[in-house]
Protein backbone atom coordinates (compact mmCIF):
# COMPACT_ATOMS: atom_id res chain seq x y z
CA UNK A 1 0.00 0.00 0.00
CA UNK A 2 1.44 3.46 -0.79
CA UNK A 3 1.53 5.55 2.31
CA UNK A 4 1.09 9.30 2.47
CA UNK A 5 3.92 11.42 3.79
CA UNK A 6 2.54 12.98 6.96
CA UNK A 7 4.70 14.01 9.89
CA UNK A 8 1.64 14.91 11.94
CA UNK A 9 1.14 11.18 12.34
CA UNK A 10 3.59 11.55 15.20
CA UNK A 11 0.71 12.87 17.30
CA UNK A 12 -1.11 9.58 16.83
CA UNK A 13 1.94 7.65 17.95
CA UNK A 14 2.52 9.90 20.95
CA UNK A 15 0.46 8.00 23.57
CA UNK A 16 2.23 4.75 22.70
CA UNK A 17 5.55 6.51 22.74
CA UNK A 18 4.98 8.03 26.18
CA UNK A 19 3.68 4.81 27.76
CA UNK A 20 6.43 2.61 26.41
CA UNK A 21 9.15 5.18 27.02
CA UNK A 22 8.08 5.50 30.65
CA UNK A 23 8.50 1.74 31.02
CA UNK A 24 11.52 1.24 28.81
CA UNK A 25 13.73 4.32 28.77
CA UNK A 26 13.68 5.27 32.46
CA UNK A 27 14.45 1.76 33.75
CA UNK A 28 17.06 1.23 31.06
CA UNK A 29 18.82 4.48 31.99
CA UNK A 30 18.69 3.42 35.65
CA UNK A 31 20.43 0.21 34.68
CA UNK A 32 23.05 2.09 32.65
CA UNK A 33 23.58 4.38 35.63
CA UNK A 34 24.14 1.48 38.05
CA UNK A 35 26.38 -0.36 35.66
CA UNK A 36 29.15 2.26 35.90
CA UNK A 37 28.93 2.94 39.62
CA UNK A 38 29.79 1.33 42.92
CA UNK A 39 27.06 1.61 45.54
CA UNK A 40 27.28 1.56 49.31
CA UNK A 41 24.15 0.87 51.32
CA UNK A 42 22.13 1.60 48.21
CA UNK A 43 22.41 5.38 48.39
CA UNK A 44 26.09 6.42 48.10
CA UNK A 45 27.52 6.06 44.62
CA UNK A 46 31.00 6.28 43.09
CA UNK A 47 31.88 6.27 39.43
CA UNK A 48 33.59 3.02 38.51
CA UNK A 49 33.85 3.08 34.72
CA UNK A 50 33.89 -0.30 33.07
CA UNK A 51 34.83 -2.34 36.14
CA UNK A 52 31.55 -4.24 36.35
CA UNK A 53 31.52 -5.03 32.67
CA UNK A 54 35.03 -6.47 32.89
CA UNK A 55 34.02 -8.47 35.91
CA UNK A 56 30.95 -9.93 34.17
CA UNK A 57 32.79 -10.72 30.96
CA UNK A 58 35.54 -12.51 32.88
CA UNK A 59 33.29 -14.27 35.36
CA UNK A 60 33.04 -18.02 35.11
CA UNK A 61 29.55 -17.83 36.54
CA UNK A 62 28.32 -15.67 33.65
CA UNK A 63 30.02 -17.90 31.08
CA UNK A 64 28.42 -20.94 32.67
CA UNK A 65 24.89 -19.54 32.62
CA UNK A 66 25.34 -18.22 29.09
CA UNK A 67 26.49 -21.66 28.01
CA UNK A 68 23.55 -23.34 29.73
CA UNK A 69 21.24 -20.83 28.06
CA UNK A 70 22.68 -21.58 24.63
CA UNK A 71 22.50 -25.32 25.20
CA UNK A 72 18.87 -25.02 26.31
CA UNK A 73 17.87 -22.80 23.38
CA UNK A 74 19.52 -25.04 20.78
CA UNK A 75 18.02 -28.19 22.30
CA UNK A 76 14.46 -26.92 22.33
CA UNK A 77 14.78 -25.48 18.80
CA UNK A 78 16.09 -28.79 17.49
CA UNK A 79 13.11 -30.59 19.01
CA UNK A 80 10.24 -28.13 18.68
CA UNK A 81 10.65 -26.98 15.08
CA UNK A 82 10.73 -30.41 13.33
CA UNK A 83 8.13 -31.81 15.73
CA UNK A 84 5.82 -28.84 15.19
CA UNK A 85 6.10 -29.10 11.41
CA UNK A 86 5.45 -32.85 11.49
CA UNK A 87 2.32 -32.39 13.61
CA UNK A 88 1.03 -29.55 11.44
CA UNK A 89 1.46 -31.76 8.35
CA UNK A 90 -0.50 -34.57 9.96
CA UNK A 91 -3.38 -32.38 11.13
CA UNK A 92 -6.74 -32.58 9.34
CA UNK A 93 -7.33 -29.78 6.83
CA UNK A 94 -11.10 -29.50 7.20
CA UNK A 95 -13.98 -30.89 9.15
CA UNK A 96 -15.07 -30.66 12.78
CA UNK A 97 -11.76 -32.07 14.11
CA UNK A 98 -9.84 -28.97 13.03
CA UNK A 99 -11.38 -26.81 15.77
CA UNK A 100 -10.96 -29.53 18.38
CA UNK A 101 -7.27 -29.90 17.51
CA UNK A 102 -6.63 -26.16 17.46
CA UNK A 103 -8.33 -25.50 20.80
CA UNK A 104 -6.70 -28.42 22.62
CA UNK A 105 -3.26 -27.69 21.18
CA UNK A 106 -3.41 -24.00 22.00
CA UNK A 107 -4.30 -24.66 25.62
CA UNK A 108 -0.73 -24.87 27.03
CA UNK A 109 0.11 -21.52 25.44
CA UNK A 110 -2.48 -19.76 27.58
CA UNK A 111 -1.58 -21.17 30.97
CA UNK A 112 0.19 -18.74 33.33
CA UNK A 113 3.89 -19.46 33.22
CA UNK A 114 4.28 -20.24 36.89
CA UNK A 115 1.35 -22.65 36.65
CA UNK A 116 3.19 -24.39 33.81
CA UNK A 117 6.08 -24.82 36.23
CA UNK A 118 3.73 -26.00 38.97
CA UNK A 119 1.93 -28.45 36.67
CA UNK A 120 5.22 -30.03 35.67
CA UNK A 121 6.45 -30.03 39.21
CA UNK A 122 3.38 -32.02 40.27
CA UNK A 123 3.53 -34.19 37.15
CA UNK A 124 7.20 -35.09 37.54
CA UNK A 125 7.53 -35.54 41.30
CA UNK A 126 9.25 -38.90 41.77
CA UNK A 127 6.83 -40.05 44.47
CA UNK A 128 3.50 -38.34 43.63
CA UNK A 129 3.82 -37.50 39.95
CA UNK A 130 2.58 -39.57 37.05
CA UNK A 131 5.76 -39.05 35.02
CA UNK A 132 8.08 -39.60 37.97
CA UNK A 133 6.27 -42.78 38.97
CA UNK A 134 6.17 -44.09 35.41
CA UNK A 135 9.89 -43.51 34.82
CA UNK A 136 10.84 -45.07 38.12
CA UNK A 137 8.40 -47.88 37.40
CA UNK A 138 10.26 -48.92 34.25
CA UNK A 139 13.47 -49.10 36.21
CA UNK A 140 15.03 -45.68 35.64
CA UNK A 141 16.42 -43.85 38.65
CA UNK A 142 14.57 -40.61 38.05
CA UNK A 143 14.59 -37.69 40.47
CA UNK A 144 14.60 -34.22 38.94
CA UNK A 145 15.23 -32.43 42.22
CA UNK A 146 18.50 -34.30 42.82
CA UNK A 147 19.94 -35.31 39.45
CA UNK A 148 21.13 -32.57 37.08
CA UNK A 149 20.45 -34.74 34.04
CA UNK A 150 16.90 -35.48 35.12
CA UNK A 151 16.30 -31.79 35.85
CA UNK A 152 17.43 -30.92 32.33
CA UNK A 153 15.29 -33.63 30.81
CA UNK A 154 12.23 -32.36 32.69
CA UNK A 155 12.92 -28.73 31.83
CA UNK A 156 13.31 -29.48 28.12
CA UNK A 157 10.23 -31.70 28.10
CA UNK A 158 8.27 -28.95 29.83
CA UNK A 159 9.30 -26.40 27.23
CA UNK A 160 8.42 -28.79 24.41
CA UNK A 161 5.02 -29.30 26.05
CA UNK A 162 4.53 -25.57 26.51
CA UNK A 163 5.65 -24.15 23.18
CA UNK A 164 5.59 -26.78 20.41
CA UNK A 165 1.97 -25.80 19.78
CA UNK A 166 3.14 -22.34 18.74
CA UNK A 167 5.20 -23.89 15.95
CA UNK A 168 2.26 -26.16 15.05
CA UNK A 169 -0.18 -23.24 14.81
CA UNK A 170 2.16 -21.10 12.72
CA UNK A 171 3.10 -23.97 10.40
CA UNK A 172 -0.55 -24.93 10.08
CA UNK A 173 -1.52 -21.36 9.18
CA UNK A 174 1.21 -21.45 6.51
CA UNK A 175 -0.03 -24.79 5.15
CA UNK A 176 -3.63 -23.63 4.97
CA UNK A 177 -2.55 -20.70 2.78
CA UNK A 178 -1.40 -23.08 0.01
CA UNK A 179 -4.02 -23.16 -2.76
CA UNK A 180 -5.52 -26.59 -3.51
CA UNK A 181 -4.43 -26.21 -7.14
CA UNK A 182 -0.78 -26.70 -6.14
CA UNK A 183 -1.55 -30.16 -4.74
CA UNK A 184 -3.57 -31.08 -7.80
CA UNK A 185 -0.71 -30.05 -10.04
CA UNK A 186 1.65 -32.18 -7.96
CA UNK A 187 -0.73 -35.12 -8.21
CA UNK A 188 -0.84 -34.82 -12.00
CA UNK A 189 2.95 -34.84 -12.07
CA UNK A 190 2.93 -37.92 -9.86
CA UNK A 191 5.04 -36.16 -7.24
CA UNK A 192 6.03 -38.20 -4.20
CA UNK A 193 5.02 -37.21 -0.68
CA UNK A 194 8.57 -36.01 -0.04
CA UNK A 195 8.62 -33.94 -3.25
CA UNK A 196 5.33 -32.27 -2.29
CA UNK A 197 6.82 -31.39 1.08
CA UNK A 198 10.18 -30.27 -0.27
CA UNK A 199 9.02 -28.21 -3.25
CA UNK A 200 5.53 -27.01 -2.30
CA UNK A 201 4.91 -27.06 1.43
CA UNK A 202 8.34 -26.13 2.77
CA UNK A 203 8.86 -23.07 0.51
CA UNK A 204 5.33 -21.88 1.30
CA UNK A 205 5.94 -22.31 5.02
CA UNK A 206 9.29 -20.54 4.92
CA UNK A 207 7.98 -17.24 6.17
CA UNK A 208 5.94 -18.59 9.09
CA UNK A 209 8.79 -20.92 10.02
CA UNK A 210 11.19 -17.99 10.09
CA UNK A 211 8.83 -16.30 12.52
CA UNK A 212 8.52 -19.47 14.58
CA UNK A 213 12.28 -20.05 14.82
CA UNK A 214 13.04 -16.46 15.73
CA UNK A 215 10.21 -16.19 18.27
CA UNK A 216 11.28 -19.41 19.99
CA UNK A 217 14.92 -18.29 19.88
CA UNK A 218 14.17 -14.98 21.57
CA UNK A 219 11.51 -16.19 23.96
CA UNK A 220 13.68 -19.05 25.15
CA UNK A 221 16.33 -16.45 25.96
CA UNK A 222 13.90 -14.66 28.26
CA UNK A 223 12.58 -17.77 29.97
CA UNK A 224 12.48 -17.35 33.72
CA UNK A 225 9.32 -18.34 35.52
CA UNK A 226 8.81 -21.91 34.31
CA UNK A 227 12.25 -23.35 35.18
CA UNK A 228 12.33 -21.22 38.33
CA UNK A 229 9.13 -22.77 39.63
CA UNK A 230 10.09 -26.24 38.41
CA UNK A 231 13.64 -26.52 39.75
CA UNK A 232 14.54 -23.13 41.23
CA UNK A 233 17.69 -23.24 39.11
CA UNK A 234 18.91 -26.39 40.84
CA UNK A 235 20.08 -28.93 41.68
CA UNK A 236 23.14 -26.79 42.42
CA UNK A 237 23.30 -24.44 39.45
CA UNK A 238 22.47 -27.06 36.86
CA UNK A 239 19.37 -25.33 35.44
CA UNK A 240 20.29 -21.71 36.24
CA UNK A 241 19.64 -19.98 32.93
CA UNK A 242 20.57 -16.35 32.22
CA UNK A 243 17.40 -14.75 33.58
CA UNK A 244 17.42 -16.82 36.74
CA UNK A 245 21.05 -15.94 37.41
CA UNK A 246 20.35 -12.26 36.78
CA UNK A 247 17.44 -12.16 39.22
CA UNK A 248 19.54 -14.03 41.80
CA UNK A 249 22.25 -11.37 41.56
CA UNK A 250 19.95 -8.34 41.36
CA UNK A 251 17.18 -9.13 43.83
CA UNK A 252 18.85 -11.88 45.86
CA UNK A 253 22.30 -10.41 46.55
CA UNK A 254 21.34 -6.81 45.70
CA UNK A 255 24.60 -6.51 43.80
CA UNK A 256 23.42 -3.54 41.75
CA UNK A 257 26.46 -2.73 39.63
CA UNK A 258 27.17 -6.31 38.69
CA UNK A 259 23.54 -7.09 37.93
CA UNK A 260 23.21 -3.91 35.85
CA UNK A 261 26.28 -4.66 33.78
CA UNK A 262 25.03 -8.20 33.24
CA UNK A 263 21.59 -6.85 32.27
CA UNK A 264 23.12 -4.62 29.62
CA UNK A 265 25.23 -7.37 28.11
CA UNK A 266 22.19 -9.65 28.13
CA UNK A 267 20.07 -6.89 26.59
CA UNK A 268 22.62 -6.33 23.81
CA UNK A 269 22.53 -10.04 22.95
CA UNK A 270 18.73 -9.92 22.73
CA UNK A 271 18.83 -6.65 20.80
CA UNK A 272 21.11 -8.19 18.19
CA UNK A 273 18.70 -11.10 17.82
CA UNK A 274 15.72 -8.73 17.54
CA UNK A 275 17.48 -6.86 14.78
CA UNK A 276 18.00 -10.06 12.82
CA UNK A 277 14.33 -10.92 13.44
CA UNK A 278 13.14 -7.51 12.24
CA UNK A 279 15.23 -7.45 9.08
CA UNK A 280 14.22 -11.00 8.17
CA UNK A 281 10.52 -10.25 8.69
CA UNK A 282 10.51 -6.95 6.82
CA UNK A 283 12.63 -8.37 4.01
CA UNK A 284 10.19 -11.25 3.67
CA UNK A 285 7.32 -8.78 3.51
CA UNK A 286 8.98 -6.63 0.89
CA UNK A 287 9.41 -9.70 -1.32
CA UNK A 288 5.87 -11.04 -1.10
Amino acid sequence: MDKTENNKAWFMVLPVLLLVAFNAVIPLMTVVNYSVQESFAGNVFFFEGSKWFEQVLHSDRFHASLLRQLAFTLTILAIEIPLGVAIALAMPRRGPWVSVCLVLMALPLLIPWNVVGAIWNIFALPDFGLLGRALNGIGLQYNFTREAGDAWFTMVLMDVWHWTSLVVLLAYAGLMAIPEAYYQAAKIDGASRWAVFRYIQLPKMRRVLTIAVLLRLMDSFMIYTEPFVLTGGGPGNATTLLSIDLVKIALGQFDLGLAAAMSLIYFLIVLAMSWVFYTMMTRGEART
Binding site: M1, A24, I26, L109, L246, S263
Partner: protein
Protein backbone atom coordinates in the same frame (compact mmCIF):
# COMPACT_ATOMS: atom_id res chain seq x y z
CA UNK B 1 -15.68 -26.45 -7.55
CA UNK B 2 -12.42 -27.96 -6.35
CA UNK B 3 -14.21 -31.29 -6.11
CA UNK B 4 -15.18 -31.26 -9.77
CA UNK B 5 -11.65 -30.25 -10.69
CA UNK B 6 -10.30 -33.19 -8.72
CA UNK B 7 -12.71 -35.60 -10.39
CA UNK B 8 -11.72 -34.31 -13.81
CA UNK B 9 -8.06 -34.71 -12.97
CA UNK B 10 -8.60 -38.23 -11.70
CA UNK B 11 -10.59 -39.14 -14.78
CA UNK B 12 -7.88 -37.89 -17.08
CA UNK B 13 -5.06 -39.75 -15.36
CA UNK B 14 -4.29 -43.22 -16.62
CA UNK B 15 -5.63 -45.93 -14.29
CA UNK B 16 -2.25 -47.40 -13.49
CA UNK B 17 -0.85 -44.08 -12.36
CA UNK B 18 -3.89 -43.05 -10.37
CA UNK B 19 -4.34 -46.19 -8.29
CA UNK B 20 -1.06 -46.34 -6.36
CA UNK B 21 -1.28 -42.63 -5.68
CA UNK B 22 -4.72 -43.01 -4.19
CA UNK B 23 -3.65 -45.98 -2.08
CA UNK B 24 -0.65 -44.09 -0.86
CA UNK B 25 -2.87 -41.20 0.18
CA UNK B 26 -5.19 -43.51 2.06
CA UNK B 27 -2.44 -45.26 4.01
CA UNK B 28 -0.91 -41.88 4.85
CA UNK B 29 -4.22 -40.63 6.21
CA UNK B 30 -4.51 -43.79 8.30
CA UNK B 31 -1.17 -43.19 9.98
CA UNK B 32 -1.15 -39.43 10.19
CA UNK B 33 -4.38 -39.54 12.16
CA UNK B 34 -2.29 -40.89 15.01
CA UNK B 35 0.26 -38.06 15.18
CA UNK B 36 -2.03 -35.24 16.40
CA UNK B 37 -3.81 -37.67 18.71
CA UNK B 38 -0.58 -38.76 20.38
CA UNK B 39 0.53 -35.15 20.64
CA UNK B 40 -2.75 -34.13 22.27
CA UNK B 41 -2.48 -37.05 24.71
CA UNK B 42 1.00 -35.78 25.60
CA UNK B 43 -0.41 -32.26 26.09
CA UNK B 44 -3.34 -33.41 28.19
CA UNK B 45 -1.48 -35.84 30.48
CA UNK B 46 0.01 -33.19 32.82
CA UNK B 47 -3.28 -31.26 32.82
CA UNK B 48 -5.16 -34.44 33.68
CA UNK B 49 -2.73 -35.06 36.51
CA UNK B 50 -3.32 -31.52 37.80
CA UNK B 51 -7.11 -32.00 37.77
CA UNK B 52 -6.71 -35.43 39.34
CA UNK B 53 -4.61 -34.01 42.19
CA UNK B 54 -7.02 -31.14 42.70
CA UNK B 55 -9.96 -33.42 43.58
CA UNK B 56 -8.01 -35.72 45.91
CA UNK B 57 -7.75 -35.38 49.65
CA UNK B 58 -4.31 -34.65 51.08
CA UNK B 59 -4.37 -38.06 52.71
CA UNK B 60 -4.89 -39.79 49.42
CA UNK B 61 -2.15 -37.78 47.70
CA UNK B 62 0.38 -38.54 50.41
CA UNK B 63 -0.78 -42.02 51.32
CA UNK B 64 -1.22 -43.83 48.03
CA UNK B 65 -0.58 -43.53 44.33
CA UNK B 66 -3.78 -43.69 42.31
CA UNK B 67 -4.47 -42.86 38.69
CA UNK B 68 -7.89 -41.43 39.50
CA UNK B 69 -9.38 -40.06 42.72
CA UNK B 70 -10.87 -42.80 44.90
CA UNK B 71 -12.10 -40.33 47.42
CA UNK B 72 -13.48 -37.54 45.22
CA UNK B 73 -13.58 -34.19 47.04
CA UNK B 74 -14.08 -30.53 46.21
CA UNK B 75 -12.62 -29.36 49.52
CA UNK B 76 -9.51 -27.96 47.81
CA UNK B 77 -11.64 -25.72 45.63
CA UNK B 78 -13.80 -24.79 48.61
CA UNK B 79 -10.68 -23.72 50.48
CA UNK B 80 -9.75 -21.35 47.66
CA UNK B 81 -13.18 -19.77 47.43
CA UNK B 82 -13.34 -19.36 51.20
CA UNK B 83 -9.92 -17.77 51.73
CA UNK B 84 -9.72 -14.06 50.78
CA UNK B 85 -5.97 -14.32 50.11
CA UNK B 86 -6.70 -16.85 47.37
CA UNK B 87 -9.74 -15.36 45.71
CA UNK B 88 -8.39 -11.82 45.98
CA UNK B 89 -5.39 -13.11 44.09
CA UNK B 90 -7.70 -14.01 41.21
CA UNK B 91 -9.51 -10.68 41.41
CA UNK B 92 -6.20 -8.80 41.45
CA UNK B 93 -4.91 -10.65 38.42
CA UNK B 94 -8.10 -10.06 36.48
CA UNK B 95 -8.17 -6.37 37.47
CA UNK B 96 -4.71 -5.52 36.23
CA UNK B 97 -5.05 -7.68 33.12
CA UNK B 98 -8.28 -5.88 32.14
CA UNK B 99 -6.80 -2.46 32.93
CA UNK B 100 -3.76 -3.29 30.86
CA UNK B 101 -5.89 -4.51 27.94
CA UNK B 102 -7.90 -1.28 27.87
CA UNK B 103 -4.77 0.87 28.12
CA UNK B 104 -2.79 -1.05 25.52
CA UNK B 105 -5.51 -1.32 22.90
CA UNK B 106 -6.71 2.27 23.18
CA UNK B 107 -3.17 3.62 22.95
CA UNK B 108 -2.26 1.25 20.15
CA UNK B 109 -5.28 2.03 17.93
CA UNK B 110 -4.21 5.51 16.69
CA UNK B 111 -0.56 4.45 16.54
CA UNK B 112 -1.34 1.39 14.44
CA UNK B 113 -3.42 3.58 12.13
CA UNK B 114 -0.51 5.98 11.74
CA UNK B 115 1.89 3.12 10.94
CA UNK B 116 -0.44 1.53 8.43
CA UNK B 117 -1.42 4.73 6.57
CA UNK B 118 1.36 7.29 6.83
CA UNK B 119 5.05 7.65 6.27
CA UNK B 120 6.66 9.92 8.80
CA UNK B 121 10.07 10.87 10.11
CA UNK B 122 11.65 7.86 11.82
CA UNK B 123 8.66 5.55 11.44
CA UNK B 124 10.72 2.43 10.72
CA UNK B 125 13.09 3.07 13.62
CA UNK B 126 10.17 3.62 15.94
CA UNK B 127 8.57 0.38 14.85
CA UNK B 128 11.80 -1.51 15.49
CA UNK B 129 12.25 0.14 18.87
CA UNK B 130 8.74 -0.94 19.85
CA UNK B 131 9.59 -4.49 18.86
CA UNK B 132 12.75 -4.55 20.98
CA UNK B 133 10.55 -3.98 24.02
CA UNK B 134 8.47 -7.02 23.21
CA UNK B 135 11.72 -8.98 23.12
CA UNK B 136 13.37 -7.52 26.22
CA UNK B 137 13.71 -10.10 29.00
CA UNK B 138 11.60 -8.89 31.96
CA UNK B 139 14.36 -10.02 34.31
CA UNK B 140 16.45 -7.04 33.15
CA UNK B 141 13.74 -4.63 34.19
CA UNK B 142 12.74 -6.21 37.49
CA UNK B 143 14.94 -4.13 39.76
CA UNK B 144 14.62 -0.72 38.05
CA UNK B 145 10.86 -1.25 37.76
CA UNK B 146 10.65 -1.84 41.46
CA UNK B 147 12.49 1.41 42.15
CA UNK B 148 10.67 3.43 39.48
CA UNK B 149 7.20 2.48 40.64
CA UNK B 150 8.13 2.93 44.26
CA UNK B 151 9.45 6.43 43.60
CA UNK B 152 6.25 7.50 41.79
CA UNK B 153 4.14 6.03 44.60
CA UNK B 154 2.42 3.35 42.56
CA UNK B 155 4.05 0.32 44.16
CA UNK B 156 1.57 -2.44 45.09
CA UNK B 157 -1.29 -1.03 43.02
CA UNK B 158 -3.12 -2.63 40.10
CA UNK B 159 -2.30 0.30 37.88
CA UNK B 160 1.43 -0.28 38.41
CA UNK B 161 1.26 -3.80 37.01
CA UNK B 162 -1.08 -2.67 34.23
CA UNK B 163 1.37 0.08 33.23
CA UNK B 164 4.39 -2.19 33.47
CA UNK B 165 2.79 -4.81 31.23
CA UNK B 166 2.31 -2.09 28.59
CA UNK B 167 6.03 -2.56 27.97
CA UNK B 168 5.42 -5.71 25.95
CA UNK B 169 1.66 -5.53 25.28
CA UNK B 170 1.57 -2.17 23.49
CA UNK B 171 4.12 -3.28 20.88
CA UNK B 172 2.16 -6.50 20.43
CA UNK B 173 -1.16 -4.63 20.05
CA UNK B 174 0.39 -2.17 17.59
CA UNK B 175 1.76 -5.00 15.47
CA UNK B 176 -1.45 -7.02 15.41
CA UNK B 177 -3.66 -4.00 14.71
CA UNK B 178 -1.31 -2.72 12.03
CA UNK B 179 -1.59 -6.09 10.32
CA UNK B 180 -5.39 -5.96 10.34
CA UNK B 181 -5.55 -2.27 9.32
CA UNK B 182 -3.29 -2.79 6.34
CA UNK B 183 -5.89 -5.25 5.09
CA UNK B 184 -8.49 -2.45 4.83
CA UNK B 185 -8.16 -0.67 1.47
CA UNK B 186 -7.12 2.94 1.67
CA UNK B 187 -9.91 3.93 -0.73
CA UNK B 188 -12.36 3.59 2.16
CA UNK B 189 -10.60 6.38 4.05
CA UNK B 190 -10.54 8.59 0.97
CA UNK B 191 -14.20 8.01 0.12
CA UNK B 192 -15.18 8.93 3.67
CA UNK B 193 -13.26 12.21 3.49
CA UNK B 194 -14.88 13.05 0.15
CA UNK B 195 -18.26 12.36 1.75
CA UNK B 196 -17.40 15.00 4.35
CA UNK B 197 -16.59 12.84 7.34
CA UNK B 198 -14.24 14.43 9.87
CA UNK B 199 -11.34 12.25 10.98
CA UNK B 200 -12.68 11.28 14.42
CA UNK B 201 -16.14 10.56 12.99
CA UNK B 202 -14.66 8.43 10.23
CA UNK B 203 -12.39 6.64 12.67
CA UNK B 204 -15.07 5.70 15.19
CA UNK B 205 -18.09 5.28 12.89
CA UNK B 206 -16.52 3.54 9.90
CA UNK B 207 -12.99 2.37 10.54
CA UNK B 208 -13.30 0.78 13.98
CA UNK B 209 -16.28 -1.42 12.99
CA UNK B 210 -14.26 -2.59 9.97
CA UNK B 211 -11.39 -3.86 12.11
CA UNK B 212 -13.51 -4.99 15.07
CA UNK B 213 -12.16 -8.52 14.64
CA UNK B 214 -8.59 -7.28 14.85
CA UNK B 215 -9.37 -5.29 17.98
CA UNK B 216 -10.83 -8.41 19.55
CA UNK B 217 -7.72 -10.42 18.73
CA UNK B 218 -5.39 -7.70 20.00
CA UNK B 219 -7.41 -7.37 23.21
CA UNK B 220 -7.34 -11.11 23.70
CA UNK B 221 -3.57 -11.26 23.34
CA UNK B 222 -2.99 -8.32 25.66
CA UNK B 223 -5.18 -9.94 28.30
CA UNK B 224 -3.47 -13.28 27.85
CA UNK B 225 0.11 -12.01 28.07
CA UNK B 226 -0.78 -9.90 31.08
CA UNK B 227 -2.44 -12.96 32.63
CA UNK B 228 0.49 -15.36 32.07
CA UNK B 229 3.29 -12.98 33.06
CA UNK B 230 4.53 -13.35 36.62
CA UNK B 231 7.97 -11.85 37.16
CA UNK B 232 7.00 -8.17 36.85
CA UNK B 233 3.63 -8.64 38.51
CA UNK B 234 5.34 -10.26 41.48
CA UNK B 235 8.06 -7.62 41.67
CA UNK B 236 5.62 -4.70 41.65
CA UNK B 237 3.20 -5.94 44.29
CA UNK B 238 3.36 -7.05 47.89
CA UNK B 239 -0.04 -7.46 49.55
CA UNK B 240 -2.81 -5.22 48.22
CA UNK B 241 -2.50 -6.13 44.55
CA UNK B 242 -0.79 -9.51 44.80
CA UNK B 243 -1.53 -11.66 41.72
CA UNK B 244 -2.79 -15.23 41.96
CA UNK B 245 0.46 -16.47 40.49
CA UNK B 246 2.36 -14.96 43.37
CA UNK B 247 0.02 -16.46 45.95
CA UNK B 248 0.69 -19.82 44.36
CA UNK B 249 4.48 -19.55 44.45
CA UNK B 250 4.23 -18.66 48.10
CA UNK B 251 2.18 -21.80 48.73
CA UNK B 252 4.80 -23.91 47.00
CA UNK B 253 7.59 -22.52 49.13
CA UNK B 254 5.81 -22.38 52.49
CA UNK B 255 3.68 -25.48 52.69
CA UNK B 256 5.25 -27.83 50.22
CA UNK B 257 2.71 -30.53 50.86
CA UNK B 258 -0.58 -28.78 50.22
CA UNK B 259 -0.41 -30.16 46.73
CA UNK B 260 -4.17 -30.49 46.44
CA UNK B 261 -4.86 -26.80 46.99
CA UNK B 262 -2.00 -25.86 44.71
CA UNK B 263 -3.40 -28.10 41.97
CA UNK B 264 -6.89 -26.64 42.40
CA UNK B 265 -5.52 -23.10 42.16
CA UNK B 266 -3.57 -24.03 39.05
CA UNK B 267 -6.61 -25.63 37.47
CA UNK B 268 -8.62 -22.45 38.08
CA UNK B 269 -6.00 -20.28 36.32
CA UNK B 270 -6.43 -22.35 33.16
CA UNK B 271 -10.15 -21.55 32.98
CA UNK B 272 -10.03 -18.03 31.46
CA UNK B 273 -7.71 -19.18 28.68
CA UNK B 274 -9.76 -22.28 28.00
CA UNK B 275 -12.98 -20.23 27.74
CA UNK B 276 -11.81 -17.51 25.37
CA UNK B 277 -9.56 -19.68 23.24
CA UNK B 278 -12.55 -21.02 21.35
CA UNK B 279 -13.40 -17.58 19.99
CA UNK B 280 -9.93 -16.79 18.69
CA UNK B 281 -8.87 -20.26 17.54
CA UNK B 282 -8.54 -19.13 13.91
CA UNK B 283 -6.57 -16.00 14.76
CA UNK B 284 -4.27 -17.40 17.39
CA UNK B 285 -1.43 -18.04 14.94
CA UNK B 286 -1.74 -14.49 13.67
CA UNK B 287 -1.52 -13.12 17.19
CA UNK B 288 1.60 -15.07 18.10
CA UNK B 289 3.21 -14.08 14.82
CA UNK B 290 2.65 -10.41 15.76
CA UNK B 291 -0.01 -10.00 13.09
CA UNK B 292 2.28 -11.30 10.36
CA UNK B 293 0.68 -14.52 9.07
Amino acid sequence: MTNTAATVVRGVLPRTAAMPARERTRSRVGLSWLVPVLYIVFLMAPIYWLLNMSVKTTNEILGSFTLWPNDFTLSNYRKIFADPVWYNGYLNSITYAVLNTVLSVSAALPAAYAFSRYRFLGDKHLFFWLLTNRMAPPAIFALPFFQLYQSVGLFDTHIAVALAHCLFNIPLAVWILEGFMSGVPKEIDETAYIDGYSFPRFFFKIFIPLIAGGIGVAAFFCFMFSWVELLLAKTLTSVAARPIASVMTRTISISGYELGVLAAAGALTIVPGAVVIYFVRNYIAKGFALGRV
